[in-house]
Subunit: 265 residues, 2 copies
Amino acid sequence: MPEDRIAGATDSGVAAGPAGAAPAAVRLRTPRDRARAQTEADIVRLGREHLALHGAAALSLRAVARDLGVVSSAVYRYVESREELLTLLLIDAYNELGDAVDAAVGAVPEEDFGGRFAALGGAVRDWALREPSRYALLFGSPVPGYRAPAERTTGPGTRVITALIGILDGAFRAGRLAATGRRGPAMAAGLAGDLAKIRAEFGLAVPDDLLARGALAWTSLFGAVSFEVFGQYGPGTFTAREELFGHHLAVLADVAGLPAAGAAR
Amino acid sequence: MPEDRIAGATDSGVAAGPAGAAPAAVRLRTPRDRARAQTEADIVRLGREHLALHGAAALSLRAVARDLGVVSSAVYRYVESREELLTLLLIDAYNELGDAVDAAVGAVPEEDFGGRFAALGGAVRDWALREPSRYALLFGSPVPGYRAPAERTTGPGTRVITALIGILDGAFRAGRLAATGRRGPAMAAGLAGDLAKIRAEFGLAVPDDLLARGALAWTSLFGAVSFEVFGQYGPGTFTAREELFGHHLAVLADVAGLPAAGAAR
DNA sequence: AAATAACGAGAGCAGCGCTCTCCCATTCAG
DNA sequence: CTGAATGGGAGAGCGCTGCTCTCGTTATTT
């Protein structure tokens, strides 16, 4: 009966009662429910450890099962497949990165837009260097044959860009986001349309040129972090990597039109 | 006798004759030599196809062996391990990207520095979109447990940055590389040392600030390409990706101090 | 108390990288 | 031209993987 796989989906997290309209919140009444929640958490925790230690491609359900002290087929009661576990770890990592970024940005005064941008960039880099395998899962080559389910990952996956957009829009509304002396290149029609849609979707005030420059700062930030984490700088070339990153961040802030960190309001 | 694995290394490519000082060039005298060269080429070709179709993590020596019409153990006569094949494919991909970049840059007049930069960026993006799996092998998350042997990959692996450095240094020597109106951030001591070493190693004239900005343009270029190839832009947001990339390239050229493409000399 | 659902164990399948042994054909030395 | 050395393919095998299925036990629901 292969349908018990489908029936099993009922168990995962959202447990609908027999009445049907039971609250979706976790119900930990019975010992079995508690045991299940504990096991699910253990699997994610062990998976996170394996991921951090050996990388995504080496993540093995059998190894997790061994660490859990259980035979391999048993973990399939909790996780549909290896991909499902990867998705859980993806969300987990996105949220941890998002938390780190939010904390770093929140620690800087709201009106210090340059400082907030620097904090955001530094938080991304720090987390990436601390968790290279998990960073690679988020921003490296997609795991072959695996596509993250958008409906579950877009939320946590957009926290960094959301924070960045918040900084840029806040700076613009405060009259502190200024195009650099040079004019940007002319905006092509299709790109202008995309930017208008983004502006509408997020309720932004930032004009096209500055929005596009913000997108460049975004991709460039992750480009710099990825080069460092993935070892694209040769072993001999750049040794003062924190200084290099700091320089890049400062230039990128200027590119985006942000004032320098700590600039007087 | 595990030593025949070491003895086998004698066969790969550089075949030293019994006299010892035989020329290192390929000697295809006997039919067996020709068959070996053919098989080696076939393995790389099939590996490239599998890599392009299914990605690096799914590259399987057994599958290559099947396509080759041979039992799996036979390919170990030609390739030491799966890693060895990955290294061959890495070099292969680096060189193909380098060729594409060199061709694109070479098609633009030498004094059109902005145009050469745009051609370089466009060539990287075009190749990456054409060969996403191979691009991922070069610039994505490192394959876990696999570290590319530097002595074999640094040469082909540095062709793009070498070309970029050539453009920047050429522009500077021609007096066409100018810092933008704004001054860059102060250069920290360690970073200045790195830059001095790079300048000496490549025989460059470019000063610190412009060299660091060139490094930023470099990482940012690959950041933009990686975001596009790895699907970091959501499905709905940026649709006019070529225009977005063109905008980014133009801003990056400006950041690096390069004149606009086609600018009068 | 009976029925139902959850769950762990175990066997099993196909695939993987890699090793080793065996055997045949080619190549080379005398 | 003959005998030794070498190259290379076939096959079996080891331990690993993801995943499926069955079976017996235990907890929960009715």
